[in-house]
């Protein structure tokens, strides 16, 4: 397996285009073919193929022992994964919706994250918990959250939030290879997005941000689906003569602070955008980190954050959309920063 980052824009001509969901499935299948210790457990991941079809076809190839359909028991599924990881397996949990992490939080935060440390370095927990997050599907308040800030706050966990199919593949393979518990977010609206994804095995190291667009006037740090909104905003702003740099951290923990700081030193303005509720979201961490860094002296404008309004996600599609940052909001924030009102 080639262990270096692949720049997905390199091979636009030759490479296949597959969806984000397919890229996730390919990463899982490749890892499972290579390593007998890798297996998946979760609700309805067998013939049903998982709530979003990600594991479709996998039970046919790998059988029910390695594609383990579970009861609806999020705490036990997660705990069983941790226990199996602690004893040598490399489990991948599929948690049907990331909102249900609420039920598995004790196992994640108090067990997976802490066992190694509490035991003085004996044992580790090489597991991955993959889970679909985000709004935009009309699933309402209990099926639309972005709770990545919770896990990012817990020492001992790593947190990944890919925005493209090729990133998803490379990062998931790195996550499975990682000897620590990794929470891997898959935004529901990204599943059907297509991208060029090399067929061969590759990993993208955790902790390496990607500059999705180079620019000079303002930096936008965006995650998951917001990367695409930021890129769209950047296209439009280019027409107004504003040259935007878009940075996708890809992993929240570890966070590639240097790439962000370097960009801000270059542009002097920065906007942090995520879909999670702004209040207490991880944007606060990123924004504060920038302010505390050497980039502070280069700032021509305050660090601005965009995130969801402080409301549960409503069902009505118009209201639902209005809760999270849109392209226009990003454009306006960028203009405000550049023109420093």
């Amino acid at each position: 397996m080639q262990s270096s980052a692949v720049n997905s824009s390199n091979d636009k001509e030759t490479a296949r285009s597959i969806t984000f969901a397919e890229a996730v499935r390919e990463a899982l299948s490749q890892e499972m073919r290579e390593d007998q210790d890798v297996f998946i457990l979760g609700e309805d991941i067998g013939v049903y193929g998982g709530a979003f079809g990600v594991t479709r076809g996998m039970i046919e190839e790998f059988g029910p022992e390695r594609i383990r359909n579970t009861p609806i028991s999020e705490a036990a599924i997660t705990g069983a994964a941790i226990g199996s990881a602690l004893t040598g397996m490399k489990p991948v949990v599929e948690l049907q919706f990331s909102d249900f992490i609420t039920i598995a939080m004790d196992q994640l935060a108090n067990q997976a994250a802490k066992l190694r440390y509490m035991y003085g370095g004996k044992g580790n927990v090489p597991m991955v918990l993959r889970t679909p997050s985000g709004s935009g599907t009309g699933a309402a308040a209990q099926h639309s959250q972005s709770l990545e800030a919770w896990v990012a706050h817990i020492p001992g966990l790593k947190v990944v939030q890919p925005s493209t199919a090729s990133d998803a593949k490379g990062l998931l393979k790195a996550a499975i290879a990682d000897p620590n518990p990794v929470i891997f977010y898959e935004h529901k609206l990204l599943y059907k997005t297509e991208g060029h994804v090399p067929e061969e095995a590759y990993t993208i190291p955790l902790g390496q941000a990607d500059i999705k667009r180079e620019g000079t006037d303002v930096t936008i740090v965006a995650t998951a689906v917001m990367v695409h909104k930021a890129l769209e905003a950047a296209e439009k702003l280019a027409e107004e003569g504003i040259n935007v740099e878009v940075i996708d951290p890809r992993t929240l923990v570890p966070l590639d602070e240097q790439t962000i700081v370097d960009s801000v030193k270059k542009t002097g303005k920065v906007i942090v955008v995520h879909e999670a509720v702004k209040r207490g979201g991880y944007g606060g961490e990123i924004a504060s980190m920038i302010a505390e860094s050497e980039a502070f002296d280069y700032l021509d404008a305050p660090v601005r954050r965009l995130g969801a309004l402080p409301v549960p996600v409503p069902y009505n599609p118009t209201l639902e959309k209005a809760t999270v940052p849109q392209v226009d909001d990003i454009m306006q924030a960028a203009r405000d920063s550049v023109h420093r009102r």
Binding site: G46, P71, I72, D99, A140, A141, Y315, N316, P317
Partner: protein, 326 residues
Amino acid sequence: MTQADWIWKEPKEKLVDWLEQMWTVRWFDEKVDEFFAKGMIHGTTHLCVGQEASAVGVCAMLEGKDKITSTHRGHGHCIAKGADPDRMMAELFGRETGYCKGKGGSMHIADVEKGNLGANGIVGGGIPLAVGAALTSKMRQEGYITVCFFGDGAANEGSFHEAVNLAAIWDLPVIFVCENNQYGMSGPVKDMVKIENIADRASGYGIPGHVVDGNSLPEVMTVMKEAVEYTRNGHGPVLIEAKTYRWKGHSKSDAKKYRTREEEKEWKDKDPIRFFQDALIERGIITQEEAETVKKETKAQIERSVEFAEQSPEPSEDTLLEDVYA
């Protein structure tokens, strides 16, 4: 069946009302199915076609003051507890006139006035809430009981275990009704528990458990009647398992690969509505024509609900920030 024979002595209006309710549930969900297939409704939904007897049979044994907590598959419970299908349909359309002003959708319809404390998008999430509602009744001596609906899949959540135990030790007036429709989303109950009946778990909490044919309205009612009496008299909770089947897929897109067409057919042959309707006709309580009328009128009513929903306004964006805090 003999035990359930009391039901046929009930006044005709009641019997017809129950038949109407089951049809209303059926038509409501058939309509919703149609709209989702056409992509006319946003989000997702979970239909209870085939399970009408448990929703209607259970709620029919309750009084107005009694409460229920419902599930993601909750349209039947909601209608049976007295909700207005117009406002339900409006909610599915995301309209201002809906039960949740368009903020909840199918998975969160609540009708607090009628005692429906709400559907729940979290499997097992409503079980502790029901226990809390029962606690209020006991502490304030309000005399109401609470029915907690949940699925076979939910019976494997920790919340089920904790909540039933709590209700048991505090002798709370709550009836746990497990609608065992044989599957979670796709997980067959026979693979997800190693026992024959989920009702058998009752003994682990020291409360009575009953299994009932969930497709037989008379049998559901008979078991419920007894449970209501027991619970209302302060003896504590009861666990009832109603064996039934959902005819449709789990939610809007489901290839149903996890079950056979034969199995589906077997269960459709046990249609709870036809079963009850035929019994009414057979016993001479209603005529074939009367039955046809009920069927048609309930269908027409749902058409009117659709009209109501379609003509209702969208919620204003100004309401977005409302009702987060009281």
